[in-house]
């Protein structure tokens, strides 16, 4: 349980995500802290270190997700499984606000994930605004990863 994900596997996960966080869609290029391999189903809950259970995640999303697998939809109060980048498409559950600075949850799963992972964290929203002004946001062509 307490072993680091092997380096070759980390490289595959990063390349599969094209170096974007699979939750908040931040680009690793602008992060001083390297992104991390996220166990979608946490190891403590029996999640295995296999490609089907791994996502590429920024430092912040990984920290906020921690061992969570479910969260409440703020609209309905219902407990919902968090977004799974290996089994679901990002654009089915999330969209961008009109100015592209905030992630909007389109479904129960999306709304619960936005809240649980705090996808609109202060620094991340600021970064999106700046990158938008430089035509570097939102990311393009990253929807194919499932």
């Amino acid at each position: 349980m307490s072993e680091r994900t092997p380096e070759p596997m980390r490289r595959i996960v990063a390349a599969r995500a094209r170096s974007y966080c699979e939750y908040c869609r931040c680009w690793e290029q602008f992060a001083t802290e390297s992104f991390t391999v996220e166990h979608i189903k946490p190891r403590q809950a029996g999640g295995e270190t296999v490609l089907e259970n791994l996502a590429w995640s920024c430092f912040g999303c990984n920290g906020h997700k921690h061992t969570k697998t479910q969260a409440r939809d703020p609209e309905t109060g219902e407990k919902i499984a968090l977004y799974n980048p290996r089994q679901q498409f990002w654009s089915e559950h999330f969209s961008w606000s009109d100015d592209f600075t905030e992630v909007i949850g389109k479904t129960s799963c999306g709304r619960a994930t936005v809240e649980a992972l705090r996808l609109n964290r202060f620094g991340v929203v600021n970064l999106r605004r700046l990158l938008r002004s430089a035509n570097l946001h939102p990311p393009q062509n990253v929807e194919s990863d499932k």
Partner: protein, 133 residues
């Protein structure tokens, strides 16, 4: 006088106490403030020197803080982090992400000042992450 992180925490705490109907008004107000802040930051300031921008771009956590953060991240990744350590990690998240945004802003301004492609400066100043295949 309260430090900025304390003020932010206070603001978040107040927001969390608001009933849903007031929350909509609060968000509208915050969006207006945010828009104002953006306009201020977009106003060209000829007095911003290259040295000042470089200072922001090159600012990093102290070696001790970086070591501590590396430890916390490792504990989190291998699934043995304690609750108090996890809270400490989240405080680093807030701080590092805000610094990353400030660094990006400084890079964009420096690119304008030097009339250089932003990608050239990214390659020059931002870390190359070894995990990128």
């Amino acid at each position: 006088m309260a430090v900025p992180t304390e003020i932010r925490k206070r603001a978040i705490a107040l927001l969390e106490q608001l009933p849903r109907e007031s929350l909509v008004k609060a968000v509208e107000f915050l969006e207006a403030l945010s828009h104002e802040a953006l306009q201020v930051s977009e106003t060209p300031n000829p007095q911003i020197s290259e040295a000042a921008l470089l200072q922001i771009i090159q600012h990093r956590l102290s070696p001790e803080e970086q070591d501590r953060l590396a430890y916390l991240r490792q504990q989190n990744e291998i699934g043995v982090i304690r609750d108090t350590e996890h809270q400490e990690l989240l405080m680093y998240v807030e701080r590092v992400e805000q610094q990353d945004a400030e660094r990006a802003e400084a890079l964009i301004k420096l690119a304008q000042l030097r009339q250089t492609d932003l990608k050239v400066l990214i390659n020059e100043f931002l870390p190359k992450h070894s995990n990128i295949a």
